[in-house]
Each structure stands twice: as structure tokens, then as C-alpha cells.
């Protein structure tokens, strides 16, 4: 038995944060009790094996807690969230020139994350109309000096190598997804605040890894975020044997492949490698839930 505030207890409590809050509330003290009973007297630092066990156990517990309810509904909501992040990231470097529209796009993402589907639809629709207008050189809602130059994060003008149709398609996927989810008349799950952390790296044009002057350059930061997100989708599908993450990955991949298809004449080996990584990870996310069970607990 340790005294309250004991360094070992404090450190194990910190490691228990790896578990989802409901599980921690229900059983955190029980796990702590076993950990402290096993600990050698006077020990101040957690045993490495126990620390690793708590981190991996917490991750598995988080994944299985997420894999509840309808997989396709949740997968659709996740996919819509990912595309909404990309839509906001496209506007973020131009926030100084387009403060209202960037704010509206951020508000749409916030509404999606909180499961406010109708509000999200209205905000996304407004942003979509303005974004398509800017991509096609029209002055709808307010007057904007074109081309819109970035204030940071990017060196290219807004939608410089895009097309009104492509911009519309990105928003249309979010809008269609929101309509489908809202028509179910079931509350959508609130999503993690970590989604915000993806916006800046996706918006950032560096570090550059493609030759200067490349048409439709893909930044290393964006590729890294996408690879990590899809890697998590594969891990989730593997641990929970659930297809929701594969569905979300597929929706996002559709948008990326649409962009690449539009620039098919200018694609280089690096573009193909980038597409290959995303396709490979999405395919893996689709197949890992089907893996054979080795025993009754697998």
C-alpha cells in the first residue's frame, strides 16, 4: 500500500491516461491496486514492462470503445470529418485575405466534430458556394481580389492548380455525407479534438520533397499526416476487426485520387509513390478486419 501522492502511484496514474475515460473511471483504481501490490517496496519508477502493457492495453481499449454502433454510419462520419479537415486546410493559408470564409469553414468542421449535422450542413454549403466561386473567378457574397495570395504556410495562390469542379467535389462529398447522416435522425458521435492537429500540417506546403515548379505539389507534412491517419485506420481495423476506419479511408482516398486524376498529365514518380502509399494503406484497412481468428479471443 502506498501513501497518496506517492511518486510511483502518480506515474502509474499518468500511464493509465492511455485508457478511455469511462474505462478509467470504472476500473482505473482496480488496475492501480494490482500494479502497486506487485511493486517492490521503495520503488519510484514504473516497471518498463508494465508501462508498455498499460500503453498498448490503453490503445486497444480505446479502439474497441470506438468500434461500437453502426460501422458504416460511424465510418461515413469519420470520412466526412477527414474531407472537412482537407477543405479547411485548403483555405487556412489565405485566412488573412479570407477571414470570414476560413472562420466559417472552421465552424463547419467544429459542428461536424460535435455531431451537429444540420448546422454543419448549412456552414459547409455557405463555404462551398464561396470556394467554388473563388475557384471559378466569380464574386459571390463579397468582393475578393483575385488571385488570393497566401499569408503563410503556402507559396501558391488559392486554387492555383485546382478547378471549380474539383473544389465542388470536395465539398459535395461532405454535404452528401451530412445529408445521409442527418436523414438517419440518430445523434452522431462527438469526435476527438485531435482532428484539429491535422489541419496545419495538411495546409503547410513544406518541407518540400518535389522539385520546384512541379505541378500539383504534395507537401511532406501533408503526406505524413495522411500516412499516420491511414496507419491508425489499419491498426483500428486490425484490433477491432471493424470496417469503419476502412470506409473513412476510402472516402478520403476518393478525394485524393480525384485531385491526382485531374492532374494526370503532370504526375511524376513521386505523385505515384504518394498515391501508392495511400491506396496500399486503405486496402490494408479494408482487409485486416477479415483476418482469420487464431483462437477464441483473437
Amino acid at each position: 500500500m502506498t501513501a497518496p501522492g506517492d511518486p510511483l502511484e502518480r506515474r502509474y496514474r499518468r500511464l493509465l491516461l492511455a485508457y478511455p475515460r469511462p474505462y478509467r473511471r470504472a476500473h482505473g483504481d482496480e488496475l492501480l491496486d494490482v500494479l502497486l501490490e506487485d511493486a517492490a517496496p521503495g520503488r519510484r519508477m514504473p516497471v518498463l514492462r508494465e508501462a508498455w502493457g498499460l500503453l498498448t492495453g490503453g490503445l486497444r481499449s480505446r479502439v474497441t470503445h470506438q468500434a461500437t454502433g453502426s460501422a458504416w454510419e460511424d465510418g461515413l462520419h469519420l470520412g466526412v470529418t477527414a474531407v472537412a479537415v482537407a477543405n479547411l486546410a485548403a483555405l487556412l493559408p489565405y485566412a488573412r485575405e479570407l477571414p470570414l470564409w476560413t472562420l466559417l469553414s472552421a465552424s463547419a468542421l467544429l459542428a461536424i466534430l460535435r455531431g451537429r449535422l444540420r448546422t454543419a450542413f448549412a456552414l459547409t454549403l455557405l463555404t462551398a458556394v464561396k470556394a467554388v466561386a473563388l475557384a471559378s473567378g466569380r464574386q459571390w457574397f463579397d468582393v475578393t481580389v483575385l488571385p488570393v495570395h497566401p499569408g503563410g504556410l503556402s507559396g501558391r495562390a488559392l486554387f492555383q492548380d485546382s478547378d471549380p469542379f474539383l473544389v465542388a467535389a470536395g465539398y459535395a462529398i461532405v454535404l452528401i455525407g451530412l445529408v445521409v447522416l442527418a436523414s438517419l435522425r440518430r445523434p452522431a458521435r462527438a469526435r476527438s479534438w485531435w482532428w484539429w492537429a491535422a489541419v496545419v500540417p495538411v495546409a503547410w506546403a513544406g518541407p518540400a520533397w518535389m522539385a520546384e515548379g512541379t505541378e500539383h505539389p504534395i507537401s511532406l507534412s501533408r503526406m505524413a499526416v495522411e500516412a499516420v491517419a491511414l496507419g491508425l485506420a489499419v491498426t483500428g481495423g486490425y484490433l477491432a476487426r471493424d470496417h469503419r476506419w476502412a470506409m473513412a479511408s476510402g472516402i478520403y482516398l476518393l478525394v485524393v485520387l480525384g485531385e491526382l486524376a485531374f492532374h494526370v498529365q503532370q504526375l511524376g514518380r513521386q505523385h505515384l509513390a504518394y498515391a501508392g502509399i495511400l491506396v496500399l494503406l486503405t486496402t490494408a484497412a479494408a482487409f485486416v478486419p477479415l483476418r482469420q481468428r487464431r483462437h477464441c479471443l483473437d
Binding site: 488496475l31 501490490e37 508494465e50 502493457g53 477464441c296 479471443l297
Partner: protein
């Protein structure tokens, strides 16, 4: 999983007692971390192979006692038979 179910055949146990029992049954070869052990316990519980027998409060902390269900009993016996048959392929006298 096998050692957890084997440990619970002796009667309901809490997490720490299961951990100690696994170590004894496996002669120290198997020592799951607390995170791994509770992951296994939660999954066994979800699948009805074990169940929570009772809860007690010790040192101000909740402690669950787990027991093996009939399904779990059948499962661990089937697994033991399978391993025995597999071992017999190697250990039976040659030419038998």
C-alpha cells in the same frame, strides 16, 4: 488466455491473485503485465467465457472477482485435449 482460465478453475479470483496464479502454474514462464492481463479479462468477460462473481472494496479501491463460466470450462478443457493430442504426436513411444 489458457492460463487465465486454468487459474480460475480453482474458484473466483481478483486480478492480483490471477496474476500470481498464472506465474505459479507456468513456473514463472508466463507473467503478463497488468495492462495485458486486464485486456484478456475484459475480452473473456465480453465473450461470456468468464463473469464477474462479486465486487469488494479494499483500501478504498474497487476489486472485481472473476469466475469461469460453463462455456469457459468447456473451452479450456477442449484446448487442453487439443494440446494433449498434439503433444502425443511427439511424445508417444516410437513405433507405437
Amino acid at each position: 488466455m489458457y492460463f487465465v482460465l486454468t487459474a480460475l478453475r480453482a474458484g473466483p479470483l481478483h486480478g492480483h491473485a490471477i496474476s500470481k496464479s498464472i506465474k505459479e502454474l507456468s513456473r514463472g514462464r508466463v507473467q503478463p503485465s497488468v495492462g495485458t492481463l486486464y485486456g484478456i479479462l475484459e475480452r473473456l468477460n465480453e465473450r461470456g467465457v468468464i463473469a464477474v462473481d462479486r465486487e469488494e472494496t479494499v483500501n478504498g479501491r474497487n476489486r472485481r472477482y472473476f469466475r469461469i463460466t460453463d462455456e469457459g470450462q468447456a473451452l479450456v478443457e477442449a484446448e487442453a485435449r487439443r494440446m494433449q493430442e498434439a503433444a502425443a504426436l511427439v511424445l508417444r513411444p516410437s513405433g507405437a
